[in-house]
């Protein structure tokens, strides 16, 4: 009778909590008494009693420990066994271990380095407490057609103040104005051309600049205060500036005959590396206002030299400010004298401080910024390389499955569950990773100085006080170990018990299995990288070897200083040197930017029409065209007797693009036409005639198209370019340097070869190319290792087949083809997948150039061919070796 039995559930409960060694007799006692009670009084229910007894047994002394000591110990001893067997296997198959460790450590090292780089790039400007509410005011210029012509990182002098006054959301505003590098005098020592930045007092409320001496509150107490940084304090006052006390010291600013005594009011810490600007001297802008006068300080159009930052009220949407644009320009400018509403020509955009470093690449950035595109590319490549390295491990670990087949069989017979085997093979993956990580770190440490040098960074792998790095690496270790161990453990634990013990091969290598996908993925990554590299290299070759329209060879540009008084004498002295063939002054030279632009109007017959496109200018002298070997297609060059300053009539050279833009497809027809050009505000506007038309040349880099430009003869020169002859340039330059010191004792000679400047325009592309080269090499290296493993696997499974084929008359070559053809299929699939994906990214990258190479069929074929070559090399030897074995040796072991 079911009623007369102890309740099962209660028994179960007892069984669950009772110490196993007590269970039998306690349960027996309970049952005995239970039946005794029923015998004594059959009508009474004893179930309640039974329950109650069991509930009362639930007390310490009877309850078993929550963590079963036994099973933990069992696990530990099993793990000891896994580790022991794992280490034995690693030791036994040294070659496989070396390949595994090499592959993993290279992949991990690349990943760690890229991760460090990206982390560093993302760190910029985040240390400012108000970083979230600070925006940079940038200005957009439009042509009269409404097209964006320039987007400036700087604003005009009057913007900051007006924004702060007009919009309550703008709570702080500051400008940074680098005023023309004055000389600094401390006692009788002179420090020429220091970058003193004039700024608004709000600066210390907005940005977090920690002070070593003085305080932000007292920094700008007087109009002639000067805040130093540690570096500039050391420069001016020596290493023991802190003990001597520099607060209150006198520093005199000298420039253009102006002598202004300044007082040191504070010393800040050096601006951190992760900031998009670095200044060493800060002084109050009020001083500059007096020098410039009120009117020029209220300017809100043009003269973009004032780096401007606004701090908005917490929670303000910057778009709300941007939307005020029309009202702003209507209020402060209205209509231009020559017609047109100012609001149609200008706009402003607010850039969040934290996004400037990676997202901003505007006209005249204060320092070269990073690029988010680069971060994405590197990040993707890092992850791909890591996956490729993991795949490598998977391939190698599973390829030698037959070595472990019997072990797995025996373990299964002895009661190993599948989960136990999974644990075992995961443990082995951990072992290999624990071996690889230190090597990866050593590799990374060795490569780090090169990366730093190359990227201009100061990354470090220091663990001291860097818990993030340590935790990150541990997480990475676990992630990589689990990921790389996942497939081998599933694969190996799946091996069928009886077949494993019988020694039969259970895996059919002909089947299209998961491993093929893994290898295809490796191929795809390699093909993608090679393809990208081919496109980048071809574009670099294109821009560096196509004719820029001027001759950049043997050309040196020398930056002028204020101390060079008489330009004519200086030039003649230079030309006296036998190895200086030509010399020309210019305000800006090709490889630079066409940043200066004025207004223009053009006389078409009797009517005068204002020029509705941006027409930038440079100042040049008579020898400019000849020195740069820029061809004239029509008209003539300036001659010595023409003088823009003195003559009542101006003379202008234009390029072909300007001629076409003005409606003259034949440049000969525009010669002698009247053009008015100049700065309306400054009254330098000058009527003149077009003297000559030059062939188009790439003044700016090939990222941008050739724009209209105008050349004027003038005296506002910043550079002199020298065409050198002879072989010994270093001697020539030494002579030029000594000549320089006759004219200027304060400044050092600052020269650059124009072809260096030319190449520097493509510096970021060259860096990208080099990095991709490194990545590609790593991918190929790891891929080769993986292939070797894969082929070993196939040969192992096809040993008998090879033997039988040979007996039936196949040659070694036939067998090699038989094994190798499958890789052909994989390569084709990988190519078909990788090329279109990469094409999207690469063509996006190519779009940053206006003048670009076209993607040819060769670039698509090349990666596949490289991969085939690599495959043939790494597969061929093993295959031939396998094919050459005497079939009798293989076939007799049945």
């Amino acid at each position: 009778m079911a009623v007369n039995q102890p309740p099962q559930l209660a028994t179960k409960l007892l069984r669950w909590f009772c110490k196993p060694q007590y269970l039998e007799d306690i349960q027996g006692d309970l049952e005995e008494e239970f039946y005794d009670r029923i015998e004594l009084n059959p009508n009474r229910s004893s179930s309640g009693w039974y329950w109650w007894q069991i509930v009362k047994l639930f007390r310490s002394g009877i309850i078993r420990p929550f963590k079963p000591i036994d099973s933990t110990q069992k696990e530990i001893s099993m793990f000891k066994n896994y580790i022991k067997i794992g280490l034995r296997n690693l030791w036994k198959y040294k070659m496989g271990t070396v390949i595994n460790v090499l592959g993993l450590s290279t992949g991990v090292a690349a990943f760690v380095l890229i991760a460090l780089f990206i982390k560093d790039e993302l760190k910029y400007d985040r240390h400012h407490e108000n970083a979230d509410n600070i925006y940079r005011l940038t200005i957009k210029n439009f042509t009269s057609e409404g097209a964006l012509s320039r987007h400036w990182a700087f604003a005009s002098a009057g913007h900051a103040e007006r924004f702060k006054e007009d919009y309550p959301e703008v709570i702080k505003a500051t400008r940074f104005y680098p005023w023309a590098f004055p000389d600094l005098l401390v006692g009788d020592r002179k420090f020429p051309a220091e970058q003193v930045i004039f700024t608004d007092p709000d600066v210390f409320d907005m940005f977090t600049f920690p002070f070593i001496e003085g305080s932000p509150e007292t920094a700008f107490n007087t109009e002639q205060s000067l805040v130093l940084t540690e570096t500039s304090a050391i420069r001016l006052f020596g290493n023991d500036w802190q003990t001597e006390g520099v607060i209150g010291e006198r520093v005199t600013l000298q420039r253009d005959g102006l002598n202004a005594p300044f007082t040191v009011s504070g010393v800040m810490k050096d601006m951190p590396e992760h900031q998009h600007f670095h200044f060493e001297y800060l002084a109050p802008i009020r001083f500059i206002e007096q020098v410039f006068g009120e009117s020029s300080m209220s300017n809100v159009t043009g003269n973009y030299n004032w780096l401007t930052y606004l701090m908005l009220q917490e929670g303000t949407n910057p778009v709300a400010i941007e939307n005020q644009k029309d009202a702003f320009f209507d209020k402060y400018v209205g209509q231009f004298a020559q017609g047109g509403d100012a609001k149609d020509y200008y706009d402003f955009a607010l850039q969040p401080l934290k996004s400037i470093h990676l997202h901003s690449n505007l006209e005249s950035e204060i320092e070269t910024n990073g690029s988010i595109q680069q971060v994405y590319i590197f990040g993707t490549v890092a992850i791909l390389l890591l996956i490729v390295a993991c795949i490598n491990y998977m391939n190698l670990a599973t390829s030698h499955f037959s070595r472990r087949m019997k072990e797995v069989g025996v373990r299964k017979v002895l009661g190993a569950l599948r989960s136990t085997l999974v644990k075992q093979f995961l443990t082995e993956a951990f072992l290999v990773n624990i071996l690889s990580f230190p090597i990866a770190l050593i590799l990374a440490e060795l490569a780090l100085p090169h990366l730093n040098d190359f990227m201009g960074k100061s990354l470090s792998l220091g663990f001291a006080g860097n818990m993030d790095l340590l935790i990150g690496l541990l997480l990475l270790l676990v992630l990589v170990a689990v990921f790389s161990g996942s497939y081998p453990s599933i694969f190996l634990s799946r091996i069928n018990l009886t077949q494993a013990l019988k020694g039969e091969s259970t895996i059919n290598s002909n089947k299209w299995n998961f491993r093929n996908w893994l290898v295809t993925f490796q191929y795809a990554v390699t093909i993608a990288l090679i393809f990208a590299l081919a496109v980048i290299e071809s574009q670099l070759y294109f821009v560096q070897n196509s004719d820029p329209g001027y001759n950049k060879e043997q050309l040196v540009s020398v930056g002028l200083s204020r101390n060079i008084g008489n330009l004519t004498t200086f030039k003649n002295e230079l030309l006296n040197h036998p190895n200086v063939e030509k010399a020309a002054y210019a305000s800006r030279i090709p490889t630079g930017r066409l940043a200066d632009s004025w207004g223009a109007s053009f006389n078409q017959g009797d009517s005068v029409a204002s020029v509705n496109f941006r027409l930038p200018f440079i100042w040049v002298d008579d020898d400019f065209l000849e020195t740069f070997q820029i061809e004239l297609v029509a008209g003539s060059n300036f001659s010595a007797d023409m003088d823009m300053i003195e003559d009542s009539v101006g003379y202008y050279l234009i390029n072909e693009t300007t001629s076409k833009a003005l409606g003259y497809d034949n440049p000969n027809d525009i010669i002698g036409q009247k053009i008015n050009y100049g700065n309306y505000d400054d009254q330098t506007f000058k009527a003149g005639r077009i003297l000559g038309v030059t062939r188009d040349f790439h003044f700016e880099s090939m990222h941008t198209s050739i724009t209209p430009m105008i050349m004027m003869k003038g005296d506002n020169m910043r550079t002199i370019c020298l065409k050198l002859t002879g072989d010994d340039h270093s001697q020539t330059l030494a002579d030029i340097e000594s000549l320089w010191y006759e004219f200027d004792q304060d400044n050092t000679l600052n020269y650059r070869f124009v072809d260096d400047r030319f190449n520097e325009q493509y510096q970021s592309e060259m860096r990208l190319s080099t990095m991709i080269k490194v990545f590609t090499s790593i991918a190929i290296l790891i891929g080769c290792l993986g292939l070797i493993g894969m082929v070993a696997f196939i040969i192992e499974t096809k040993n008998k087949e090879i033997g039988i084929r040979k007996v039936l008359g196949a040659s070694a070559g036939d067998i090699a083809i038989n094994i190798g053809y499958r890789f052909g299929i994989l390569i084709v699939i990988a190519t078909v997948v990788a090329i279109p994906c990469t094409f999207l990214i690469v063509s996006d990258w190519l779009d940053s150039f206006v003048y670009r190479t076209s993607i040819t069929i060769w670039m698509i074929m090349l990666p596949a061919m490289v991969v085939i070559l690599v495959t043939v090399l790494s597969v061929g030897i093993q295959t031939i070796k396998a094919a050459l074995v005497n079939p009798a040796v293989i076939l007799k072991t049945e």
Binding site: Y22, E24, D25, I26, Q27, G28, D29, L30, E31, E32, E33, Y35, D36, W52, Q53, I54, V55, K56, L57, F58, R59, S60, G61, I62
Partner: protein, 112 residues
Amino acid sequence: MKDYQLGEFEEIVLLTVAILHGDAYGVSIKRDIEERLQRTVSVGALQTALRRMEDKDYLHSTFGESTAKRGGKRKRYFEITDLGKQALAYSKETRNQMWNAIPKTVFEFSWL
């Protein structure tokens, strides 16, 4: 002198094991205590006391025979060890000493 820790219930259980000499297992001990002292004993309390004293080496246990009523589960027989006997003796000794230390008048007074 070694400190013999013995609770009241523990002492009763220990004495009962000694009384049942050779036939002391869970059910018999429980029944004996219940009959002799007219109090109910829960299996939980009894087992805890038994195991605790086994840990203290006052008791020693061995598996015995099984019966059908127990569903084939063996009995666990308990035996008092020498240490257990000493503990009982010590307990009795201390009680006696304490009894003897009570002035006679206390009882006389109470008899009144």
